[in-house]
């Protein structure tokens, strides 16, 4: 049970600021979640704090690889799949 940080991360430190378990660390390869510390904020009804503040879609995933903030969920910028092609 632990969350992960993906390559989409922009390294803004926001998750590190709010993680109650101090589980976010900066390694040479980038930001990482220390597995044994992360309990996915089980006791917090608002859910994982990193996922709540992260400004980038798909940067944080659960242990199934599912994004906590899937594409389109934060920016409001329409995804290609939502665009209906115009008829000529």
């Amino acid at each position: 049970m632990a969350l992960s940080i993906t390559q989409a991360c922009i390294g803004c430190f926001a998750c590190k600021e709010v993680c109650p378990k101090n589980a976010v660390t900066v390694a040479e390869q980038g930001f990482m979640i220390v597995e044994h510390r992360c309990d996915e904020c089980r006791s917090n009804t608002n859910g994982p704090q990193c996922g709540q503040i992260c400004p980038v879609e798909t940067a944080i995933t659960d242990n199934q690889g599912r994004a906590l903030n899937p594409p389109g969920s934060l920016s409001g910028i329409p995804q290609k799949s939502h665009v209906i092609a115009m008829t000529k």
Binding site: G11, A14, E17, N22, A23, T25, N44, Q49, I53, L74
Partner: protein, 446 residues
Amino acid sequence: MKLDKMTDGKQPDSSQLKADTQAALVATHPCFSKEGHQYARIHLPVAPACNIQCNYCNRKFDCSNETRPGVVSKLLSPAMAARRFVKVKQHVPETKVVGIAGPGDPLANPKATIASLKAIAAADPDVHLCISTNGLALIEHLDKLLEVGVKHLTITINCIDAEIGKNIYPWVYFNQQRLRGRAAAQALIDQQLLGLEAAINAGMLVKVNTVLIPGINDHHIESLAIELGRYGAFIHNIMPLISDPAHGTYFGLMGQREPSSEMLGAAREKAGQSMQQMTHCQQCRADAVGKLGQDIDINSLENVEPALPPHIRVAVASKSNLLVDQHFGYATEFQHYLITENSIQAEANFSWQQYCGGDEQCNDDKANRDLNQLAHFDLLLCSRIGLAPRQELEDLGLQVDTHYALRDISDALRQIQQQMQSEQSNQHHLLVANAANAGCGGKECS
């Protein structure tokens, strides 16, 4: 909102701040006064995290030839920030103002922001300290800001109507959750106004920035300015939206138009009925240096003449009082030494609340222990240290060294002094802070 407490048309701040002190605060600040342009400012990029999203901001983008707020090339740790300030001050003695403006929100990074401000104040007690914030966490941190001597504050308030705000802020992280829509905007506006009122009552000089967004808040500027006047904000800075699609912001990609200069002029004129207007803003980046409009390339200074630390403050964790033989987590006090080029001086021991409880399983309630108290040290020597505290200390600008484990303290100190002397002659920094750099705020633009 606490508007009913205010008296109409009165400027409550005038009674708080004596006119002459206020004039002095204003005259030398290039962001508060047009006449301040002969003085220079430095923005220190120590605060990457943000607690809200604005539709005119894209945090992913960072290109060195771009100038707009929210953008920065390289992050600094508080210690590096202090060194950069000292260096810039040597080259540009007119530097009177040190601001922290991001690239995120300074108060979403309270530890780094406060540590940097403290370090700057220690280096130059005369410099004006200021921060530029979205105001969401202002109330929470106001006392600390006052304590370190912040007198100038900028709050970006784009509207005081959540119906408008929901079109500017897609989300706001408040009370441990991501709010969206109207609730997000309302939470932000409430906190901004509480913070504005408290800061003014505390005697701060408050500038309010407003981004003028055609079709979204342009019709609202006048009523906003009236409210700001009632609160007693010092000056109002209405800035035109930047919405170049190349920046990848929501507004940019969605084709939101920028205001024309006529529109900007009209907004300033209307708002000018109730608020003194600022018209010379250059919308600088979070790492701008120099006089307004004449930015200095920090890299050109970096190589010229590095400012050398005149002394190093060392904390040593020791069980035996002879060797560097204690794990950081178990230390209850640190030996304190001041090393200069010519002397090694022992100072009073620094007592400290043990970081680790020594539980079988290391549970992380210690995450709350305030490592900030150690921020006045430059170097920590210990036998071992956990990854998390090491990183947090390095973020605060402390260099952590375990290479001297189980060695004689006096030998270690002498070796550090020698290193300092040789570095001194090589014109290099002794301490190369490395932690904050790793968090790349400076990704290549793609």
